[in-house]
């Protein structure tokens, strides 16, 4: 008997480096399940990740994969996708990687409607470096660099993605494994730039600093405060201790960069004849 996701993993790398109760493993599992249910040709899937805890995910997926520098997975993935449109290029990275150092690449890839699936593990903090505050750290939250409480306002990632023109935007917590899997499947089948935020437990760092020492406590928090509201206004979906609005926010049709590029190239070449 072997684990159903085994063939999607680089077995020799499991167990992974992530802490007890970290949501990254759940996200990887949901991604594997999505690939499985869609019967995706694994030869044509490329997983690209950045720096941070979840950055290691590319090393665990049994597909072609690339672990870029901090913040650059989307830019790298853009090159991959344009060079070989055959490939499904999935970026899986963290909130700091994608929205702090990599924010510029994110907003422009979304604007271009680049054919990429971006899955963001939002754990509210920089875990790999030991718990510094980042673009999603809740105001007042304690981190090693906000010892007196965070005074920075946060990014509402789904709002940002929607505003930048992503054609599919969803948010789930790591407890919503089924719905997350469905969203990943939907994204994988969608043309253009899709974005899925996964609110993910980091009990070891964020939890410890913010009175949620155990992973179960964090998951219970998700269970208690999450509220499914599909296609509600992402602008009103700020994450607060009292409420996490989850669900699909955007599911739109818009010609992707690849499609427009293909059409343009074809036009140019026929003129050339």
């Amino acid at each position: 008997m072997e684990h159903p996701y085994e063939k999607f993993l680089r077995r020799e790398r499991i167990p992974h480096i992530w802490c007890e109760g970290c949501g990254n493993g759940i996200i990887l599992g949901c991604f594997a399940r999505a690939l499985d249910e869609l019967k995706m040709d694994l030869d044509k899937v490329v997983v690209v990740s950045g720096i941070g805890c979840i950055g290691r995910v590319s090393g665990y997926t049994n597909t072609d994969s690339y672990h870029t520098t901090h913040g650059r997975p989307i830019a790298f993935a853009t090159g991959v996708k344009l060079a070989n449109p055959e490939l499904k290029v999935v970026v899986i990275s963290g909130d700091g990687d994608l929205f702090a150092i990599g924010g510029n690449h994110f907003i422009h890839a979304a604007r271009r409607n680049m054919d990429l699936q971006v899955i963001c593990a939002n754990n509210f903090i920089y875990g790999m470096t030991g718990g510094q505050h980042g673009p999603t750290t809740p105001i007042d939250a304690r981190t090693t660099t906000t010892p007196y409480g965070n005074i920075e306002h946060t990014f509402n990632l789904v709002h940002l993605a929607a505003a930048c023109g992503a054609v599919y935007v969803a948010r789930w917590t790591a407890l919503h494994v089924r719905r997350l899997t469905e969203s990943i499947k939907k994204a994988l089948q969608k043309e253009g730039f899709s974005f899925i935020e996964v609110v993910s437990p980091c009990p070891e760092i964020f939890g410890r600093y913010n009175k949620m020492e155990t992973s179960i406590k964090m998951m219970q928090w998700f269970r208690e405060v999450s509220e499914v509201r599909h296609f509600s206004d992402p602008a009103k979906a700020d994450i607060t201790p009292q409420k996490i609005v989850v669900g699909e926010f955007v599911d739109a049709e818009k010609p992707s960069y690849s499609r427009l590029l293909k059409e343009m190239t074809a036009k140019v070449q026929t003129q050339a004849q």
Binding site: H176, R178, R179, R223, S226, V228, H230, V246, G247
Partner: protein, 809 residues
């Protein structure tokens, strides 16, 4: 809304008041114990009375003609009829007055039948004296009556039917076919109700679901009918013709696109006994109650389903559903409906025989209920129509039916459930049809085969060899080995003890009011009869109308019925509702409150007590404002106002005090002045009369719309006038026809009691009683009980109370 012109100065008897009095014999109903001639003569002596006659049947056409002529010829400006209760014939005589050009609010009745002749059958003299008094009171009030103009209320041409059983379905179909928009609200996921569970119907032996299913789909498809299943009425505001109804629709978690293929249920990992099959079959968390369900759309039982809150733990059904119709994010919806009429067809529950321990239900596997039997014998049921007994799944060689389980007995309900006898006879024939060899015993008290074709069916059963034994078993004992059952009891015909062994016992369970019927009762301010079923406006003449205007009753909600009667009553209710809606408007009683501006200080006490929020305090103007459309006329505001700044039309202080004066003119010290609310206490007194309950003749009942109208000053006035005792009676707390006005009554009486104690008066002379329309007995005994108080009151105390109350007041 057009409003009657009113003069603000205090109404007083104008010179040209000309009253005609008509004392009715009502055959011998009144004349039997009252000397009507004598009463008429007495009436002639009363102030302003210009005509006084007695007549055999005043309500007859001739009687009405008589009155009309007198109005024209004798220029009558007021009419008093002394006969039955106004709840019966006031409309009749009012119409007569109008036809003769007299404003119908200038008509008054003296109830000398229900409140006099019938309750004093054996004391002609006292009854006659009381009748005179009652007429005097009526005349006194009549003199102060004023013409009123009724405002016209438009009626919304849409109907709400509550309950999707056969009655509700029929009512909805009839209304829909008539062309009215209908909302059919059903609590369960499917319509169909009890009839859907039954195998065959009596006496024709039709397949129940075969004749019901087409009706179900008709109503489901009907362009004018909007089906709201899984839904409950949670709030009803407004009044006849203009109800605002809130319906809570619970989510099915399956969209309309469901094709009812059942693939979801196949994979669902959790199961529970299916309620529809009375627990004899299994269903899954996602299910359809039965094959012919309407709507066919499946439904998820979230209490059973593994998916809690918004977390999907198990996605088997979602994955199995090809059309992707399962949506766990559906939320409950509250629909707001504006309807003109409401039909209550909420049905009934079946009696749970577990309470009768001697019969061993839930202890002995082979003791089943008649409802379980219906599922067992049904070809589509859990046993595929094989009559098997639960212990060994074998067809029993002999069975016994036990009748009146939960009916006609102190142990269950006192009443007869109407359907059980015929149901058993039908069932016995079904057994004979499939397994002719089966020995069948029916243990009964009386066989009631009163309906069309019933007797024939009964005879057939006997002919087929069904054994009918009079006398219910005292106990049922199981043979541990065979699991057979011994029925032990007395055959009351042969006066001998029987001990009969059968393979299976079917308890013929009775019909009981829905355990949740209080909710609807409260929302629609309905009343219940002692058996707990909803009470009709009049048992004979308005059998499908509820006391609340615009509300009608159908099916077992009103009383236990078979299918035919339910359907009949449903059509009747639909017809009654259609009449209202066809008119498109209705004239509302002019009995509403009127503000006397200059007296109002804007203190807002009236606003606090108004059950309908019909009063707004205008802080700038230091005045209140009355919203007449919202006013239901209970009069509790008027009773509360310390400045007499609110007048109740047709129930003014002057009119009521006038009645008190008349009532206490003679022998006040021997009299009880009783204030009874129109809906419960007064009707209760009528009921006492109808049931000929005898009580002392010294009570004088003054009718107010609500006990909340009874201002303390009325009570004080009665004492000041030397009354021996005062009774204030209204609906039971919680049953008030005016939502909660009678809570104010309670407060006021309690205040009065304190005051009396302070004044050193015997507080027992003031009594408060909650009496509903069916509690004639309670009223009668109350009066008897107060009689002793009346006798104990000394003349000194009466004198004392006169002075003190006057001083205090």
């Amino acid at each position: 809304m057009t409003e009657a012109k009113q003069t603000d100065n205090k109404p007083s008897v104008s010179e040209d008041v000309r009253i005609g009095v008509y004392v009715c014999h009502c055959g011998l109903n009144i004349a039997g114990s009252v000397d009507c001639r004598d009463v008429a003569d007495f009436a002639a002596t009363l102030p302003h009375v210009v005509v006084s006659k007695d007549y055999r049947y005043t309500c007859s056409d001739q009687g009405q003609e008589l009155i009309k002529n007198d109005i024209r010829e004798n220029k009558l400006t007021r009419v008093v009829v002394a006969s039955c209760t106004p709840r019966l014939h006031e409309p009749t005589f009012r119409r007569a007055c109008e036809e003769a050009g007299l404003n119908k609010y200038l008509f008054e009745m003296a109830n000398i039948r229900e409140h006099c002749s019938w309750v004093h059958l054996y004391d002609r003299e006292a009854a006659t004296e009381k009748a005179k008094d009652l007429v005097k009171i009526a005349v006194a009030r009549a003199a102060l009556l004023e013409p009123q103009k009724e405002s016209e209320v438009p009626i919304i041409r849409r109907a709400l039917v509550i309950g999707g059983g056969v009655a509700g379905i029929q009512a909805a179909l009839d209304l829909g076919d008539t062309g009215y928009k209908v909302y059919l609200v059903e609590k369960e996921p499917s319509i169909g109700g009890r009839m859907a569970q039954i195998d065959k119907t009596f006496p024709t032996m039709d397949c129940s679901i075969c004749i019901l299913a087409p009706k179900m789909s008709d109503v489901g498809r009907h362009p004018n009918v909007e089906l709201l299943t899984n839904s409950e009425v949670v709030d009803v505001k407004g009044y006849i013709g203009n109800f605002k109804v809130k319906v809570l629709q619970k989510p099915r978690y399956v969209t309309k696109d469901c094709t009812a293929c059942g693939d979801c249920a196949k994979v669902c990992p959790v199961t529970t006994p299916n309620e529809f099959d009375v627990g004899l079959a299994t269903r899954h968390a996602i299910y359809t109650p039965f094959a012919q369900a309407v709507p066919a759309t499946y439904v998820v039982d979230r209490n059973l389903c593994l998916n809690k809150e918004n977390i999907i733990f198990c996605d088997k059904c979602i994955k199995a559903c090809e059309r992707k119709t399962i949506d766990f994010d559906m939320k409950p919806q509250t629909l707001e409906l504006d309807v003109g009429t409401i039909i209550v067809a909420t049905g009934a529950d079946v009696y749970d025989p577990a309470a009768l321990v001697d019969y061993g239900y839930t202890k002995l596997p082979n003791v089943i209920t008649s409802l379980e039997f219906e599922r067992l014998i049904n070809a589509g049921g859990p046993s595929g129509g094989r009559l098997i007994r639960p212990s060994d799944m074998q067809v029993p060689e002999s069975v016994a039916f036990v009748q009146c389980v939960g009916s006609r007995s102190e142990k269950g309900m006192l009443y007869c459930s109407n359907v059980c006898c015929m149901n058993t006879i039908k069932d016995s024939l079904l057994i004979k049809e499939h397994w002719p060899e089966t020995k069948i015993h029916v243990f009964y008290v009386d066989i009631r085969a009163y309906g069309k074709g019933f007797e024939d069916l009964y005879k057939r059963a006997r002919k087929e060899g069904v054994l009918f034994i009079r006398g219910l078993p005292a106990e049922i004992v199981e043979d541990k080995k065979t699991r057979n059952l011994w029925l032990i009891g007395e055959n009351t015909l042969q006066k001998e003890v029987y001990k009969i062994n059968v393979g299976m016992v079917i308890l013929s369970v009775g019909v009981e009011p829905r355990r949740d019927s209080d909710v609807i009762q409260r929302l629609l301010t309905l009343s219940k009869t002692p058996d707990g079923f909803f009470m009709e406006a009049h048992p004979k003449l308005r059998p499908v109308d509820a006391p609340t205007g615009g509300v009608f009753l159908a099916g077992c909600a009103e009383s236990p019925k078979d299918i035919k009667d339910s359907v009949t009553q449903a059509s009747a209710a639909a017809a009654r509702a259609s009449i209202l809606m066809a008119q498109g408007k209705i004239r509302a009683e002019a009995i509403t409150s009127r503000l006397i501006e200059e007296k109002c200080t804007g203190c807002g006490m009236c606003a606090k007590v108004c059950p309908y929020n019909a009063i707004i305090v205008n802080k700038e103007r230091k005045k209140v404002e009355l919203i007449e459309a919202a006013c239901a006329g209970c009069g509790t505001c008027s009773a509360e106002c310390p400045f007499n700044a609110i007048e109740m039309r047709h129930f003014t202080d002057e009119q009521i005090c006038g009645q008190i004066d008349a009532a206490t003119e003679q022998e006040a010290d021997k009299k009880i002045v009783a204030f009874c609310c129109n809906w419960c206490a007064y009707a209760g007194a009528d009921f006492a009369g109808v049931s000929r309950m005898q009580y002392p003749p010294n009570v004088r009942i003054i009718r107010t719309m609500c006990s909340g109208r009874v201002a303390p000053k009325f009570v004080e006035h009665a004492f000041a006038r030397g009354a021996a005792a005062v009774l204030v009676a209204g609906c039971h707390l919680g049953d008030c026809h005016y939502i909660n006005a009678n809570y104010q009554t309670q407060k006021r009486i309690e205040r009065l009691w304190k005051k009396m104690e302070k004044l050193g008066l015997n507080r027992t002379r003031l009594q408060l009683a909650w009496i509903n329309a069916s509690e004639g007995e309670r009223l009668a005994s109350k009066v008897k009980e107060m009689q002793s108080i009346v006798e104990s009151v000394t003349s000194e105390e009466i004198e004392k109370s006169k002075k003190m109350v006057e001083r205090a007041g």
